[in-house]
């Protein structure tokens, strides 16, 4: 799969309405307004809250970094948050585990009411339930790789043996065998972030939060690391909240993507939702360079069969991406029958496929 590769359909989860279990993360009406606490709290719910960010800042001196954000992340899902620089992604990630104190909102993670948690409860949540991976790795320069990886366990005051044991396993998991006793600055950027990954996995969290973990890496390494995350996610089935400003990364990793602008959610949905029907120009700008045929499934380009259609052509599942049926229509002039299970739900003809494959929306 080339450039803006896409997560395959078997990776997709069911639509929210059909989910059996509770969400792992749920955020309701989350706000973060930087500025004096009293001042900031007054803003929410007033007309000032609806002002554009710049204007609010001018009037009150407060910066609304996260505004009324709602979302859910389901078990085993990779949920990507995307937006330009300054759109509030990092703030949102930190607010979730109260590294930054939210101004308002409801947050639940793995059944814990985060907002109601006291210091001890919060610490418990951070020790066992959630782990973060950071943009600049956040490694401790004075500790060797194993001791960096075991840092989370050290904080939990696990015995040294157990710590080292687990850390060594993690070293293996992320493919750093042989580098256990190096210091971080003896490693390349990619390897350093592997240490960051291993440190997060070491505490065996239910949820992992990644804050632009690969944006400090060069493109080839980034690609490697993305594959690594995909692999680890498959192997461990962890729920992940992944922040990026790189669309191709979002498309590669994300089961669902949330796009933010100026602290607000602009659109949430599957990759094909975003590419197929961008909510506004902001999203359209984001997705305009994406090769549509690699993202869109037949569902997006099929039409109902008419009487004139020759229905003896080949079949393809409805959630196949367009790119994969190109060879089919090339070999066969008849329209492709689009199947949802055993049921035909529409047809796709050559013109539609070629248009979707060539076009960039």
């Amino acid at each position: 799969m080339s450039e803006a590769g896409v997560v395959q359909d078997e990776g997709r989860r069911a639509a929210p309405t059909e989910r059996a279990s509770d969400p792992v993360i749920s955020a309701r009406g989350v706000w973060k307004i930087f500025g004096p606490q009293a001042e900031a709290e007054k803003i929410i719910g007033t007309e000032a809250a609806t002002l554009p960010r710049a204007e609010l800042r001018e009037r009150t001196g407060c910066i609304a970094a996260v505004r009324d954000v709602d979302f859910e992340v389901w078990p085993g899902e990779v949920f990507v948050v995307m937006g330009l620089s300054g759109s509030g992604k990092s703030t949102l990630a930190r607010v979730l585990i109260r590294l930054i104190e939210p101004t308002a909102g409801e947050i639940r993670i793995a059944g814990h009411d985060v907002m109601a948690a006291d210091t001890a409860g919060l610490r418990q949540l951070r020790r066992g339930t959630v782990a973060m991976v950071f943009q600049h790795f956040g490694l401790l320069a004075h500790r060797r790789v194993v001791d960096n990886i075991g840092f989370g366990l050290e904080i939990q005051q696990k015995p040294k043996e157990q710590r080292l044991d687990r850390a060594r396993k993690m070293v293996e998991l992320v493919g750093l065998d042989g580098f256990e006793n190096h210091f971080p600055d003896q490693l390349s950027g990619g390897m350093q972030q592997r240490v960051g990954l291993a440190r997060a996995f070491a505490v065996d969290p239910e949820v992992m939060i990644f804050d632009e973990p690969f944006s400090a890496l060069d493109p080839l390494i980034r690609r490697d690391m993305q594959n690594e995350v995909i692999r680890l996610q498959k192997e461990t089935g962890k729920t992940m909240l992944f922040i990026t400003h790189d669309l191709s990364e979002a498309l590669r990793l994300g089961d669902r993507i949330m796009i933010m602008r100026d602290g607000e959610v602009v659109q949430q949905g599957s990759p094909e939702d975003l590419v197929g029907s961008p909510a506004d120009d902001y999203v359209r700008n984001f997705v305009q360079d994406v090769p549509r045929s690699q993202v869109l499934t037949l569902r997006w380009i099929m039409r109902d069969a008419t009487a004139s259609d020759d229905l003896s052509g080949p079949t393809a599942p409805v959630d196949e991406v367009v790119r994969d049926v190109v060879s089919l229509v090339a070999d066969n002039p008849k329209p492709v029958r689009v199947m949802d299970g055993d049921r035909m739900v529409g047809v796709v003809d050559r013109v539609a496929v070629l248009r979707a494959d060539g076009g960039r929306s």
Binding site: L122, R126, M132, Q135, I155, Q156, D185, Q186
Partner: protein, 651 residues
């Protein structure tokens, strides 16, 4: 307060195009006119003097009466004094027990262990030189005093610095205090310390601590703040407690900075060793001061050389140790584990030290071999040179005396007269106006109040005398500093040549500058001025160099692209863009100059510094305390007037 102040807004309104320097010029012109018209008509009115010195004398009497009965002394000051006394005595005892063999071995091995071979060699040579110069015992007294002060300073400074690094609120609260502590010349601390602790080692330690704590706090705070936010967040995201964040992340990552703080603290402590001996600190400082009072400049220079040698040795040792704290993370040659564990090595060092000390006792060489008066010999030569220099029939004296006389005749005296004989309200008014122009309303108010306070305390005359010395020195410092700074920034070779000289000059205690200069120029106001210029110029040079070098290459290239010559680039691009750095140079320079000018009270500089000297030597506590307060006030005024929009002074 004055016509000048009230006229300010009007001037600004009418002449909006006047630059700041021009505005300052206008203020000074008005003052000059007032001086010419009203010379000597408005001395500080005696009705406006509050006899604060009498109050201090009364306070001192009360202290003497209550020293052994009042709870404040019984449960507070006396405890501190006793503790410090014992600390110094204890360290001294350890050094004596070790004997010169053990001490030299200790210094050498400890530096060998933590700083490296070359530094260890330097340290070994330095310690031996104390013996050779015949000042071993004095050096050890100084070392004990200095170590006590450093220990106390670090015990206060590191926790406070950590707190300031972690809490914005605490940082905000102590910053102004630290600012003031660093502005005020150490000389001004002596008097109050003596009043509460009387003369002796504890007083010397406390004065040193007051002087040495600010850099310890600042550098530690800077180090803790310098730890990447992400590293702290990382630990928090893993559920670390505040303690775990501190000990697992912030302190280890700030260790190098903290070590540099230790280095600075030691340097500060050594730089006031001589002054501290005025209030009972023994050792080398005492040797210097008493040699000076017998006009035995040779001995004074020998003893101060020992201080300088100690400063250089400890500076290099701690600096190298700080550098190795980073290097220890990169074991050279891959990851081989060292043959001995760190703990074994450390233990070996201490066993070896003890072995050396015991051996020295066993073989009866515990006291330094009599080096046939090498120190006396050197002192004799120096004294001969000085006699020659001061001989009017020889070529040097006529030159220095001509220089000195002209400096007094054309610089110091006219300015002193100008400041003290102008109407007092006009002087305050202009200072206030300049503070407003340069630094804004808040600083203006502070400057006005404090300047008035100097008059109210009854030391307007000496205050203006000191101010005139400071101004003359500052002008000279800026002249040389900016000129040399520009040259150094433009010619890398020149910069490389002067850098070691700058470094060496900065390790010298202020008063060490004074001694040879007194020999050259004889006592009076001149040595203070010249010494202060020597003391402050390197810092101004450095700030100017940094400022000019930091000018963005893009701006320079753009100017070149438009065909500007090198001189044009310098004048039109670099210097204007380096102005903030140069302003900082003015501010720092003036504070450094003040410190030396005050110390020069010891060698005939007169004015406020002399007030402190008299206070200390003749037990005129009230007068001494008033002079100290006036120095404090003047320091803050000079800082505020020149601080500009600086938020915070650098370390």
């Amino acid at each position: 307060m004055s016509a000048v102040t009230t006229a300010r807004p009007a001037i600004r309104a009418r002449l909006p195009h006047l630059g700041r320097s021009a505005q300052v010029g206008v203020v000074l012109a008005i003052l000059l006119v007032l001086f010419v018209l009203l010379e000597n008509k408005f001395p500080w009115p005696s009705g406006l003097i509050y006899p604060l010195n009498k109050r201090f004398d009364a306070l001192y009497e009360w202290i003497v009466d209550n020293q052994n009965s009042h709870w404040l002394f019984l449960y507070f000051f006396n405890h501190i004094a006793n503790f410090l006394d014992q600390l110094v005595a204890y360290l001294n005892g350890v050094l004596v027990w070790l004997s010169w063999v053990g001490v030299t071995a200790a210094a050498t091995l400890i530096t060998l262990r933590w700083s490296g071979r070359r530094v260890a060699l330097l340290v070994c040579g330095s310690f031996l030189s104390f013996g050779v110069l015949g000042v071993w015992e004095e050096s050890m007294e100084t070392l004990a005093l200095m170590l006590s002060a450093v220990l106390v300073s670090l015990a206060i400074g590191i926790p406070a610095g950590v707190l300031a690094g972690r809490s914005d609120r605490f940082d905000k609260a102590i910053t102004p205090v630290l600012d003031v502590m660093q502005i005020v010349p150490a000389f001004a601390y002596l008097m109050p310390v003596v009043i509460f602790f009387s003369v002796g080692n504890p007083a010397a330690v406390i004065a040193t601590v007051v002087y040495a704590v600010p850099p310890a706090v600042r550098i530690t705070a800077l180090g803790v703040r310098g730890v990447a936010r992400e590293s702290v967040e990382m630990a928090e995201s893993l559920g670390a407690t505040r303690r775990q964040v501190l000990f697992g992340v912030q302190l280890p990552l700030a260790l190098r900075s903290i070590m540099l703080g230790v280095n600075q603290t030691i340097m500060m402590a050594l730089s006031i060793v001589i002054i501290a001996s005025l209030i009972g600190g023994g050792g080398l400082g005492d040797t210097v001061i008493s040699a000076l009072s017998f006009l035995d400049v040779g001995l004074a220079i020998v003893a101060s050389s020992a201080i300088v040698i100690m400063a250089i040795a400890l500076d290099r040792a701690t600096e190298a140790a700080a550098a190795r704290m980073d290097a220890s993370r990169h074991p050279e040659g891959g990851l081989r584990t060292p043959r001995f564990s760190a703990r074994t090595l450390t233990a070996a060092v201490f066993v070896a030290i003890a072995a050396f000390a015991l051996a020295a006792r066993a073989f009866g060489i515990a006291s330094f071999p009599d080096t046939v008066g090498v120190g006396d010999f050197i002192a004799g030569i120096i004294n001969d040179v000085i006699t020659w220099v001061q001989d009017p029939t020889k070529p040097v004296y006529p030159v220095t005396s001509w220089l000195g006389d002209h400096l007094v005749l054309w610089g110091l005296e006219p300015l002193r007269v100008f400041l003290s004989d102008s109407p007092w309200w006009a002087v305050i008014g202009s200072a206030v106006a300049i503070a407003l122009i340069v630094s804004g309303v808040r600083q203006m108010i502070i400057a006005g109040v404090l300047l008035t306070a100097i008059g109210v305390m009854g030391v307007w005359g000496p205050g203006m005398d000191t101010a005139s010395q400071v101004l003359v020195s500052t002008v000279l410092t800026l002249f040389f500093g900016v000129a040399l700074g520009i040259v150094a920034a433009e010619t890398p070779r020149f910069e490389q040549t002067i850098r070691p000289i700058q470094d060496a000059l900065q390790t010298l205690p202020q008063i060490v500058y004074l001694i040879p200069i007194v020999a050259l120029f004889s006592v009076g106001r001149v040595p203070g001025v010249i010494a202060s210029v020597l003391y402050a110029t390197p810092v101004v040079i450095r700030l100017v160099v940094v400022g000019i070098k930091e000018v963005s290459p893009a701006a320079v290239e753009a100017a070149r692209a438009f065909g500007a010559s090198r001189a044009e680039v310098l004048l039109k691009v670099k210097i204007p863009l380096a102005r903030p750095a140069i302003m900082l140079g003015v501010n720092q320079g003036i504070i450094m100059v003040l410190a030396v000018v005050i110390v020069a009270g010891l060698v005939g500089g007169g004015a406020l510094g002399y007030g402190v000297v008299v206070g200390l030597q003749r037990n005129e506590f009230g007068d001494g305390a008033v002079a100290s307060l006036a120095i404090l006030a003047l320091g803050i005024v000079l800082d505020r007037v020149t601080r500009g929009n600086l938020q915070r002074r650098s370390i």
